[in-house]
Protein backbone atom coordinates (compact mmCIF):
# COMPACT_ATOMS: atom_id res chain seq x y z
CA UNK A 1 0.00 0.00 0.00
CA UNK A 2 2.69 2.43 1.11
CA UNK A 3 4.64 1.59 -2.01
CA UNK A 4 1.73 2.51 -4.29
CA UNK A 5 1.24 5.83 -2.50
CA UNK A 6 4.92 6.63 -3.04
CA UNK A 7 4.74 5.77 -6.75
CA UNK A 8 1.59 7.87 -7.10
CA UNK A 9 3.15 10.92 -5.39
CA UNK A 10 6.28 10.79 -7.54
CA UNK A 11 4.47 10.29 -10.84
CA UNK A 12 1.79 12.90 -10.14
CA UNK A 13 4.46 15.47 -9.28
CA UNK A 14 6.40 14.56 -12.42
CA UNK A 15 3.23 14.88 -14.51
CA UNK A 16 2.64 18.36 -13.09
CA UNK A 17 6.22 19.42 -13.89
CA UNK A 18 6.54 17.82 -17.30
CA UNK A 19 3.12 17.60 -18.97
CA UNK A 20 3.04 21.29 -19.97
CA UNK A 21 6.54 21.08 -21.46
CA UNK A 22 5.86 17.79 -23.27
CA UNK A 23 2.58 19.04 -24.73
CA UNK A 24 4.37 22.15 -25.95
CA UNK A 25 7.11 19.98 -27.48
CA UNK A 26 4.45 18.00 -29.32
CA UNK A 27 2.68 21.09 -30.64
CA UNK A 28 5.94 22.72 -31.74
CA UNK A 29 6.04 20.09 -34.52
CA UNK A 30 2.57 20.98 -35.86
CA UNK A 31 1.17 23.95 -37.73
CA UNK A 32 -1.39 24.65 -34.99
CA UNK A 33 -1.41 28.13 -33.55
CA UNK A 34 -3.19 27.03 -30.40
CA UNK A 35 -2.86 24.05 -28.10
CA UNK A 36 -5.86 21.74 -28.51
CA UNK A 37 -6.48 22.26 -32.21
CA UNK A 38 -4.56 19.47 -33.92
CA UNK A 39 -3.57 20.10 -37.50
CA UNK A 40 -0.76 18.64 -39.58
CA UNK A 41 2.91 17.93 -38.92
CA UNK A 42 5.11 20.89 -39.73
CA UNK A 43 8.63 22.13 -39.11
CA UNK A 44 7.66 25.72 -39.85
CA UNK A 45 8.28 26.79 -36.23
CA UNK A 46 11.87 25.58 -36.42
CA UNK A 47 12.39 27.29 -39.76
CA UNK A 48 11.11 30.56 -38.28
CA UNK A 49 13.23 30.11 -35.16
CA UNK A 50 16.43 29.76 -37.13
CA UNK A 51 15.76 32.22 -39.94
CA UNK A 52 13.92 35.16 -38.36
CA UNK A 53 16.71 37.73 -37.74
CA UNK A 54 15.03 39.13 -34.63
CA UNK A 55 14.94 35.69 -32.99
CA UNK A 56 18.46 34.77 -34.07
CA UNK A 57 19.83 38.03 -32.72
CA UNK A 58 18.00 37.53 -29.42
CA UNK A 59 19.34 33.99 -28.98
CA UNK A 60 22.87 34.97 -29.94
CA UNK A 61 22.75 37.95 -27.58
CA UNK A 62 21.49 35.82 -24.69
CA UNK A 63 24.21 33.20 -25.06
CA UNK A 64 27.03 35.68 -25.66
CA UNK A 65 25.98 37.59 -22.55
CA UNK A 66 25.71 34.39 -20.48
CA UNK A 67 29.17 33.20 -21.52
CA UNK A 68 30.75 36.61 -20.97
CA UNK A 69 29.16 37.02 -17.55
CA UNK A 70 30.07 33.45 -16.59
CA UNK A 71 33.73 33.95 -17.55
CA UNK A 72 34.04 37.17 -15.55
CA UNK A 73 32.11 35.70 -12.60
CA UNK A 74 34.24 32.57 -12.60
CA UNK A 75 37.46 34.60 -12.60
CA UNK A 76 36.33 36.93 -9.82
CA UNK A 77 34.60 34.28 -7.73
CA UNK A 78 37.49 31.81 -7.94
CA UNK A 79 40.08 34.44 -7.08
CA UNK A 80 37.91 35.58 -4.20
CA UNK A 81 37.51 32.06 -2.91
CA UNK A 82 41.24 31.23 -3.04
CA UNK A 83 42.18 34.56 -1.49
CA UNK A 84 39.58 34.41 1.27
CA UNK A 85 40.47 30.81 2.08
CA UNK A 86 44.07 31.75 2.88
CA UNK A 87 43.32 35.10 4.47
CA UNK A 88 42.80 35.85 8.16
CA UNK A 89 39.61 34.64 9.78
CA UNK A 90 38.17 38.15 10.12
CA UNK A 91 38.78 38.86 6.42
CA UNK A 92 37.12 35.58 5.55
CA UNK A 93 34.07 36.36 7.69
CA UNK A 94 33.70 39.74 6.00
CA UNK A 95 34.02 38.25 2.51
CA UNK A 96 31.53 35.52 3.36
CA UNK A 97 29.06 38.13 4.57
CA UNK A 98 29.50 40.27 1.43
CA UNK A 99 29.17 37.15 -0.70
CA UNK A 100 25.89 36.22 0.98
CA UNK A 101 24.21 39.56 0.23
CA UNK A 102 23.41 39.09 -3.50
CA UNK A 103 22.43 35.47 -2.82
CA UNK A 104 19.73 36.25 -0.26
CA UNK A 105 18.71 39.49 -1.93
CA UNK A 106 15.77 39.61 -4.34
CA UNK A 107 16.85 39.87 -7.99
CA UNK A 108 14.49 42.81 -8.40
CA UNK A 109 16.35 44.75 -5.72
CA UNK A 110 19.80 43.75 -7.03
CA UNK A 111 18.92 44.89 -10.55
CA UNK A 112 17.20 48.08 -9.45
CA UNK A 113 20.04 49.06 -7.11
CA UNK A 114 22.73 48.66 -9.77
CA UNK A 115 20.51 50.65 -12.16
CA UNK A 116 20.21 53.47 -9.60
CA UNK A 117 23.96 53.56 -8.91
CA UNK A 118 25.34 53.26 -12.43
CA UNK A 119 22.64 54.69 -14.65
CA UNK A 120 20.80 57.20 -12.48
CA UNK A 121 23.60 58.43 -10.22
CA UNK A 122 26.65 58.14 -12.51
CA UNK A 123 24.75 58.62 -15.80
CA UNK A 124 26.43 55.64 -17.38
CA UNK A 125 25.20 54.77 -20.85
CA UNK A 126 23.11 51.57 -20.83
CA UNK A 127 24.18 50.91 -24.44
CA UNK A 128 27.73 50.14 -23.30
CA UNK A 129 26.37 46.90 -21.78
CA UNK A 130 28.59 47.62 -18.77
CA UNK A 131 25.71 48.02 -16.26
CA UNK A 132 24.13 44.80 -17.55
CA UNK A 133 27.33 42.75 -17.33
CA UNK A 134 28.26 44.20 -13.94
CA UNK A 135 24.80 43.59 -12.47
CA UNK A 136 24.62 40.00 -13.71
CA UNK A 137 28.17 39.35 -12.47
CA UNK A 138 27.14 40.66 -9.04
CA UNK A 139 24.51 37.91 -9.01
CA UNK A 140 26.62 35.08 -10.48
CA UNK A 141 30.10 35.49 -8.93
CA UNK A 142 28.91 34.70 -5.36
CA UNK A 143 27.60 31.34 -6.58
CA UNK A 144 31.00 30.56 -8.12
CA UNK A 145 32.61 31.47 -4.77
CA UNK A 146 30.24 29.05 -3.03
CA UNK A 147 31.03 26.19 -5.36
CA UNK A 148 34.83 26.67 -5.25
CA UNK A 149 35.19 27.02 -1.45
CA UNK A 150 34.28 23.39 -0.57
CA UNK A 151 36.92 22.16 -3.04
CA UNK A 152 39.57 24.29 -1.32
CA UNK A 153 38.58 22.78 2.02
CA UNK A 154 39.00 19.28 0.58
CA UNK A 155 42.45 20.10 -0.83
CA UNK A 156 45.61 18.98 0.91
CA UNK A 157 47.34 22.20 1.96
CA UNK A 158 50.76 20.52 2.11
CA UNK A 159 50.80 20.14 -1.68
CA UNK A 160 51.16 23.88 -2.23
CA UNK A 161 53.98 24.08 0.32
CA UNK A 162 55.64 21.07 -1.31
CA UNK A 163 55.48 22.76 -4.70
CA UNK A 164 57.13 25.88 -3.27
CA UNK A 165 59.82 23.78 -1.58
CA UNK A 166 60.51 22.01 -4.86
CA UNK A 167 61.21 25.35 -6.47
CA UNK A 168 57.89 26.51 -7.90
CA UNK A 169 57.15 30.19 -7.81
CA UNK A 170 53.85 31.00 -6.03
CA UNK A 171 52.26 31.78 -9.41
CA UNK A 172 53.36 28.42 -10.83
CA UNK A 173 52.10 26.67 -7.71
CA UNK A 174 48.74 28.40 -8.13
CA UNK A 175 48.34 27.33 -11.74
CA UNK A 176 49.90 23.86 -11.53
CA UNK A 177 48.82 22.74 -8.07
CA UNK A 178 45.83 24.63 -6.72
CA UNK A 179 43.81 25.21 -9.90
CA UNK A 180 43.82 21.59 -11.15
CA UNK A 181 42.60 20.41 -7.75
CA UNK A 182 39.70 22.84 -7.49
CA UNK A 183 38.77 22.52 -11.17
CA UNK A 184 35.51 20.59 -10.55
CA UNK A 185 34.32 23.42 -8.29
CA UNK A 186 35.27 26.02 -10.89
CA UNK A 187 33.46 24.11 -13.65
CA UNK A 188 30.26 23.70 -11.67
CA UNK A 189 30.44 27.37 -10.65
CA UNK A 190 30.81 28.33 -14.30
CA UNK A 191 27.77 26.22 -15.23
CA UNK A 192 25.72 27.76 -12.41
CA UNK A 193 26.70 31.24 -13.60
CA UNK A 194 25.58 30.40 -17.14
CA UNK A 195 22.18 29.10 -16.02
CA UNK A 196 21.62 32.05 -13.68
CA UNK A 197 22.38 34.48 -16.49
CA UNK A 198 20.17 32.60 -18.97
CA UNK A 199 17.27 32.50 -16.50
CA UNK A 200 17.51 36.10 -15.35
CA UNK A 201 14.72 38.51 -16.15
CA UNK A 202 14.76 41.25 -13.51
CA UNK A 203 18.41 42.28 -13.46
CA UNK A 204 18.42 42.32 -17.25
CA UNK A 205 15.29 44.48 -17.46
CA UNK A 206 16.69 47.16 -15.18
CA UNK A 207 20.15 47.41 -16.73
CA UNK A 208 19.92 46.36 -20.41
CA UNK A 209 20.20 48.64 -23.43
CA UNK A 210 16.72 49.49 -24.75
CA UNK A 211 17.13 47.58 -28.01
CA UNK A 212 18.78 44.48 -26.54
CA UNK A 213 16.72 41.46 -25.52
CA UNK A 214 17.52 38.17 -23.82
CA UNK A 215 15.28 35.12 -24.07
CA UNK A 216 13.50 36.10 -20.82
CA UNK A 217 12.73 39.71 -21.71
CA UNK A 218 11.86 38.72 -25.28
CA UNK A 219 9.41 36.01 -24.23
CA UNK A 220 7.65 38.30 -21.77
CA UNK A 221 7.19 40.94 -24.48
CA UNK A 222 6.20 38.38 -27.10
CA UNK A 223 3.43 36.94 -24.92
CA UNK A 224 1.98 40.45 -24.60
CA UNK A 225 1.99 40.85 -28.37
CA UNK A 226 -0.20 38.99 -30.81
CA UNK A 227 2.26 37.80 -33.45
CA UNK A 228 1.37 34.11 -33.66
CA UNK A 229 4.31 33.04 -35.83
CA UNK A 230 6.71 34.37 -33.18
CA UNK A 231 4.64 32.82 -30.40
CA UNK A 232 4.76 29.34 -31.91
CA UNK A 233 8.43 29.74 -32.85
CA UNK A 234 9.05 30.16 -29.12
CA UNK A 235 7.50 26.71 -28.62
CA UNK A 236 10.26 25.42 -30.87
CA UNK A 237 12.82 27.32 -28.81
CA UNK A 238 11.45 25.68 -25.62
CA UNK A 239 11.83 22.29 -27.29
CA UNK A 240 15.40 22.99 -28.34
CA UNK A 241 16.39 24.18 -24.85
CA UNK A 242 14.58 21.22 -23.25
CA UNK A 243 16.50 18.77 -25.44
CA UNK A 244 19.84 20.49 -24.76
CA UNK A 245 19.25 20.47 -20.99
CA UNK A 246 18.26 16.79 -21.05
CA UNK A 247 21.38 16.04 -23.10
CA UNK A 248 23.64 17.81 -20.58
CA UNK A 249 21.97 16.21 -17.56
CA UNK A 250 22.04 12.69 -19.03
CA UNK A 251 25.65 13.24 -20.09
CA UNK A 252 26.64 14.39 -16.60
CA UNK A 253 24.75 11.46 -15.08
CA UNK A 254 26.51 8.92 -17.29
CA UNK A 255 29.83 10.57 -16.56
CA UNK A 256 29.34 10.31 -12.80
CA UNK A 257 28.21 6.68 -13.12
CA UNK A 258 31.38 5.96 -15.08
CA UNK A 259 33.52 7.68 -12.46
CA UNK A 260 31.85 5.64 -9.72
CA UNK A 261 32.60 2.45 -11.61
CA UNK A 262 36.24 3.39 -11.96
Amino acid sequence: MRKYVEHAVIWLALAFLYLPILILVFYSFTDSTMIGSVRGFSLQNYVTLFTEPELLQMMLGTFTLAIGVAVISTLLGTMGAIGAFHAKKTTRTVVEFLNEVPIVNADVVTGFSVCILMIVLFHMDKDTYIPLVVAQTALCAPFVYLSVTPRLKMMDGALYEAALDLGCTPTQALFKVILPQIMPGITSGFMTAITLSLDDYFITTYTKPATFDTISTYVVNATRGSQTSIKTALWALSTVIFVIVIGIVVGMNMNSVKQEEE
Binding site: I35, N99, V108, L117, T195
Partner: protein
Protein backbone atom coordinates in the same frame (compact mmCIF):
# COMPACT_ATOMS: atom_id res chain seq x y z
CA UNK B 1 60.68 39.77 3.48
CA UNK B 2 60.09 40.67 -0.09
CA UNK B 3 56.82 42.59 -0.09
CA UNK B 4 56.38 42.39 -3.83
CA UNK B 5 56.10 38.61 -4.06
CA UNK B 6 52.75 37.22 -4.95
CA UNK B 7 50.65 35.93 -2.09
CA UNK B 8 47.47 33.88 -2.41
CA UNK B 9 45.72 36.17 0.07
CA UNK B 10 45.95 39.07 -2.36
CA UNK B 11 43.62 37.33 -4.79
CA UNK B 12 40.73 38.34 -2.57
CA UNK B 13 41.28 42.05 -3.19
CA UNK B 14 39.60 42.40 -6.63
CA UNK B 15 36.63 40.35 -5.47
CA UNK B 16 36.09 42.41 -2.33
CA UNK B 17 36.49 45.58 -4.38
CA UNK B 18 33.87 44.34 -6.83
CA UNK B 19 31.38 43.33 -4.12
CA UNK B 20 31.78 46.61 -2.25
CA UNK B 21 31.38 48.72 -5.40
CA UNK B 22 28.58 46.83 -7.11
CA UNK B 23 26.68 45.10 -4.32
CA UNK B 24 27.03 47.12 -1.12
CA UNK B 25 27.34 50.60 -2.61
CA UNK B 26 24.20 50.24 -4.77
CA UNK B 27 22.24 49.16 -1.71
CA UNK B 28 23.49 52.17 0.25
CA UNK B 29 22.50 54.42 -2.64
CA UNK B 30 19.03 52.84 -2.57
CA UNK B 31 18.69 53.67 1.12
CA UNK B 32 19.87 57.23 0.36
CA UNK B 33 17.33 57.65 -2.44
CA UNK B 34 14.60 56.17 -0.27
CA UNK B 35 15.15 58.71 2.47
CA UNK B 36 15.51 61.78 0.27
CA UNK B 37 13.09 63.61 -1.99
CA UNK B 38 13.65 64.51 -5.64
CA UNK B 39 15.90 67.45 -4.79
CA UNK B 40 18.14 65.54 -2.39
CA UNK B 41 16.71 66.73 0.93
CA UNK B 42 16.30 64.30 3.77
CA UNK B 43 12.71 63.20 3.90
CA UNK B 44 10.71 60.41 5.47
CA UNK B 45 7.69 61.31 3.39
CA UNK B 46 8.02 58.52 0.84
CA UNK B 47 8.47 56.02 3.62
CA UNK B 48 5.48 57.24 5.59
CA UNK B 49 3.49 57.39 2.39
CA UNK B 50 4.10 53.68 1.82
CA UNK B 51 2.89 52.70 5.26
CA UNK B 52 -0.12 55.03 5.33
CA UNK B 53 -1.38 54.58 1.77
CA UNK B 54 -4.02 51.80 1.78
CA UNK B 55 -3.06 50.93 -1.82
CA UNK B 56 0.61 50.17 -1.12
CA UNK B 57 -0.23 48.47 2.16
CA UNK B 58 -2.75 46.38 0.23
CA UNK B 59 0.09 45.42 -2.14
CA UNK B 60 2.24 44.35 0.80
CA UNK B 61 -0.58 42.24 2.23
CA UNK B 62 -1.36 40.70 -1.19
CA UNK B 63 2.35 39.81 -1.66
CA UNK B 64 2.43 38.15 1.74
CA UNK B 65 -0.78 36.19 1.03
CA UNK B 66 0.66 34.99 -2.30
CA UNK B 67 4.05 34.15 -0.77
CA UNK B 68 2.54 32.20 2.15
CA UNK B 69 0.13 30.28 -0.10
CA UNK B 70 2.80 29.42 -2.67
CA UNK B 71 5.30 28.40 0.01
CA UNK B 72 2.80 26.15 1.79
CA UNK B 73 1.66 24.43 -1.42
CA UNK B 74 5.27 23.96 -2.58
CA UNK B 75 6.14 22.46 0.81
CA UNK B 76 3.11 20.16 0.72
CA UNK B 77 4.30 18.78 -2.63
CA UNK B 78 8.08 18.96 -2.24
CA UNK B 79 8.25 17.50 1.29
CA UNK B 80 6.81 14.04 0.46
CA UNK B 81 8.55 13.99 -2.93
CA UNK B 82 11.96 14.76 -1.42
CA UNK B 83 11.37 12.22 1.34
CA UNK B 84 10.50 9.46 -1.13
CA UNK B 85 13.50 10.38 -3.31
CA UNK B 86 15.86 10.27 -0.32
CA UNK B 87 14.44 7.49 1.85
CA UNK B 88 11.62 5.71 0.04
CA UNK B 89 11.11 3.55 -3.01
CA UNK B 90 13.21 5.82 -5.22
CA UNK B 91 16.21 6.23 -2.93
CA UNK B 92 18.45 4.09 -5.11
CA UNK B 93 17.62 5.89 -8.31
CA UNK B 94 19.66 9.05 -8.43
CA UNK B 95 18.17 9.59 -11.85
CA UNK B 96 14.80 10.63 -10.39
CA UNK B 97 16.30 13.45 -8.34
CA UNK B 98 17.90 14.66 -11.56
CA UNK B 99 14.61 14.85 -13.42
CA UNK B 100 12.98 16.69 -10.53
CA UNK B 101 15.58 19.44 -10.52
CA UNK B 102 16.09 19.52 -14.31
CA UNK B 103 13.37 22.17 -14.92
CA UNK B 104 15.54 24.64 -12.94
CA UNK B 105 17.78 24.82 -15.99
CA UNK B 106 15.03 25.69 -18.45
CA UNK B 107 14.28 29.39 -18.77
CA UNK B 108 11.38 30.19 -16.45
CA UNK B 109 9.54 32.45 -18.90
CA UNK B 110 9.45 29.58 -21.40
CA UNK B 111 8.19 27.17 -18.74
CA UNK B 112 5.47 29.61 -17.67
CA UNK B 113 4.51 29.99 -21.35
CA UNK B 114 4.06 26.23 -21.56
CA UNK B 115 1.94 26.16 -18.41
CA UNK B 116 -0.09 29.10 -19.65
CA UNK B 117 -0.95 27.33 -22.90
CA UNK B 118 -2.24 24.31 -20.97
CA UNK B 119 -4.21 26.41 -18.50
CA UNK B 120 -5.79 28.30 -21.40
CA UNK B 121 -7.10 25.04 -22.82
CA UNK B 122 -8.47 23.97 -19.43
CA UNK B 123 -9.97 27.27 -18.32
CA UNK B 124 -10.57 28.93 -21.69
CA UNK B 125 -10.09 32.42 -20.25
CA UNK B 126 -7.14 32.88 -17.91
CA UNK B 127 -8.25 36.31 -16.75
CA UNK B 128 -11.18 34.74 -14.88
CA UNK B 129 -9.02 33.19 -12.15
CA UNK B 130 -5.99 35.48 -11.81
CA UNK B 131 -5.21 34.56 -8.20
CA UNK B 132 -5.47 30.79 -8.65
CA UNK B 133 -3.46 30.91 -11.89
CA UNK B 134 -0.73 32.99 -10.27
CA UNK B 135 -0.46 30.46 -7.45
CA UNK B 136 -0.29 27.54 -9.91
CA UNK B 137 2.29 29.41 -12.01
CA UNK B 138 4.54 30.19 -9.07
CA UNK B 139 4.29 26.67 -7.64
CA UNK B 140 5.19 25.34 -11.07
CA UNK B 141 8.12 27.74 -11.31
CA UNK B 142 9.55 27.32 -7.79
CA UNK B 143 8.85 23.65 -6.99
CA UNK B 144 12.19 22.27 -8.31
CA UNK B 145 14.09 24.79 -6.17
CA UNK B 146 12.45 23.44 -3.03
CA UNK B 147 13.13 19.76 -3.66
CA UNK B 148 16.93 20.04 -3.55
CA UNK B 149 17.38 21.49 0.00
CA UNK B 150 14.74 19.11 1.40
CA UNK B 151 16.38 16.16 -0.33
CA UNK B 152 19.74 17.13 1.21
CA UNK B 153 18.16 17.38 4.66
CA UNK B 154 16.59 13.93 4.31
CA UNK B 155 19.78 12.24 3.11
CA UNK B 156 21.56 13.59 6.21
CA UNK B 157 18.76 12.28 8.41
CA UNK B 158 19.88 9.05 10.07
CA UNK B 159 17.45 6.27 9.14
CA UNK B 160 18.17 4.48 12.41
CA UNK B 161 16.46 7.36 14.23
CA UNK B 162 13.25 6.60 12.35
CA UNK B 163 13.62 2.88 13.07
CA UNK B 164 14.36 3.57 16.74
CA UNK B 165 11.18 5.64 16.95
CA UNK B 166 9.17 2.79 15.43
CA UNK B 167 10.77 0.18 17.70
CA UNK B 168 9.87 2.29 20.70
CA UNK B 169 6.24 2.10 19.65
CA UNK B 170 5.62 5.26 17.61
CA UNK B 171 3.02 4.89 14.85
CA UNK B 172 3.58 6.43 11.40
CA UNK B 173 2.03 9.77 12.35
CA UNK B 174 4.07 9.99 15.54
CA UNK B 175 7.24 9.08 13.67
CA UNK B 176 6.51 11.91 11.26
CA UNK B 177 5.68 14.58 13.84
CA UNK B 178 8.15 13.57 16.57
CA UNK B 179 11.14 12.33 14.57
CA UNK B 180 11.18 13.26 10.89
CA UNK B 181 9.71 16.78 11.07
CA UNK B 182 11.92 18.09 13.92
CA UNK B 183 15.05 16.66 12.29
CA UNK B 184 14.25 18.20 8.94
CA UNK B 185 13.65 21.75 10.24
CA UNK B 186 16.92 23.18 8.82
CA UNK B 187 16.01 21.73 5.41
CA UNK B 188 12.52 23.22 5.63
CA UNK B 189 13.95 26.62 6.53
CA UNK B 190 16.34 26.71 3.59
CA UNK B 191 13.60 25.41 1.27
CA UNK B 192 11.25 28.16 2.42
CA UNK B 193 13.87 30.85 1.84
CA UNK B 194 14.26 29.59 -1.74
CA UNK B 195 10.58 30.26 -2.44
CA UNK B 196 9.14 32.90 -0.10
CA UNK B 197 11.05 35.94 -1.33
CA UNK B 198 10.78 35.16 -5.06
CA UNK B 199 7.04 34.69 -4.52
CA UNK B 200 6.83 38.24 -3.12
CA UNK B 201 8.81 39.79 -5.93
CA UNK B 202 8.54 37.75 -9.14
CA UNK B 203 5.90 39.84 -10.87
CA UNK B 204 6.57 38.35 -14.29
CA UNK B 205 4.56 35.26 -13.38
CA UNK B 206 1.64 37.52 -12.39
CA UNK B 207 1.86 39.53 -15.59
CA UNK B 208 1.99 36.42 -17.73
CA UNK B 209 -1.08 35.03 -15.91
CA UNK B 210 -3.01 38.28 -16.55
CA UNK B 211 -3.12 39.06 -12.83
CA UNK B 212 -3.34 42.85 -12.69
CA UNK B 213 -3.05 43.06 -8.90
CA UNK B 214 0.36 44.29 -7.76
CA UNK B 215 2.89 42.52 -5.55
CA UNK B 216 5.98 44.22 -4.08
CA UNK B 217 8.07 43.46 -7.17
CA UNK B 218 5.47 44.99 -9.49
CA UNK B 219 5.71 48.26 -7.55
CA UNK B 220 9.45 48.47 -8.28
CA UNK B 221 8.74 47.60 -11.90
CA UNK B 222 6.15 50.33 -12.29
CA UNK B 223 8.24 52.99 -10.52
CA UNK B 224 11.14 51.98 -12.79
CA UNK B 225 9.01 52.51 -15.91
CA UNK B 226 7.86 55.92 -14.65
CA UNK B 227 11.45 56.95 -13.69
CA UNK B 228 10.36 57.46 -10.07
CA UNK B 229 13.71 56.51 -8.51
CA UNK B 230 12.86 57.71 -5.01
CA UNK B 231 9.70 55.67 -4.59
CA UNK B 232 11.29 52.67 -6.29
CA UNK B 233 14.11 52.92 -3.76
CA UNK B 234 11.63 53.06 -0.89
CA UNK B 235 10.14 49.73 -1.97
CA UNK B 236 13.61 48.23 -2.48
CA UNK B 237 14.72 49.46 0.95
CA UNK B 238 11.61 47.99 2.59
CA UNK B 239 12.24 44.65 0.85
CA UNK B 240 15.88 44.86 1.90
CA UNK B 241 14.95 45.32 5.56
CA UNK B 242 12.50 42.45 5.25
CA UNK B 243 15.20 40.21 3.73
CA UNK B 244 17.72 41.21 6.41
CA UNK B 245 15.24 40.41 9.16
CA UNK B 246 14.37 37.02 7.63
CA UNK B 247 18.06 36.13 7.21
CA UNK B 248 18.83 36.99 10.83
CA UNK B 249 15.81 35.00 12.03
CA UNK B 250 16.60 31.92 9.93
CA UNK B 251 20.29 32.00 10.92
CA UNK B 252 19.19 32.24 14.54
CA UNK B 253 16.73 29.37 14.13
CA UNK B 254 19.31 27.10 12.45
CA UNK B 255 21.99 27.99 14.98
CA UNK B 256 19.87 27.48 18.08
CA UNK B 257 18.71 24.20 16.58
CA UNK B 258 22.30 23.09 16.10
CA UNK B 259 23.18 24.12 19.64
CA UNK B 260 20.25 22.24 21.09
CA UNK B 261 21.11 19.08 19.19
CA UNK B 262 24.71 19.35 20.41
CA UNK B 263 23.61 19.70 24.03
Amino acid sequence: MNKLTFDRKMLVIPYVFFLVCFVILPLLVIVYYGFTDGSGHLSFENFLAFFTNPKTMGTLVYSLVIAVTVTLICLAIAYPVAYILAKGEYAKHHFFLMIFVLPMWINFTLRITALKEILTVIEWNLALHPFANTIVGMVYDFLPFMIMPLFNAFTKLDSSMIEAGRDLGANSLQTLTKVILPLSVPGIISAVTMVFLPAMTNYVVLDMMYNSTYIMGSLIGSYFSSFDWNNGSVISAILLMFIGLCTILTNYAVQSKAERSRA
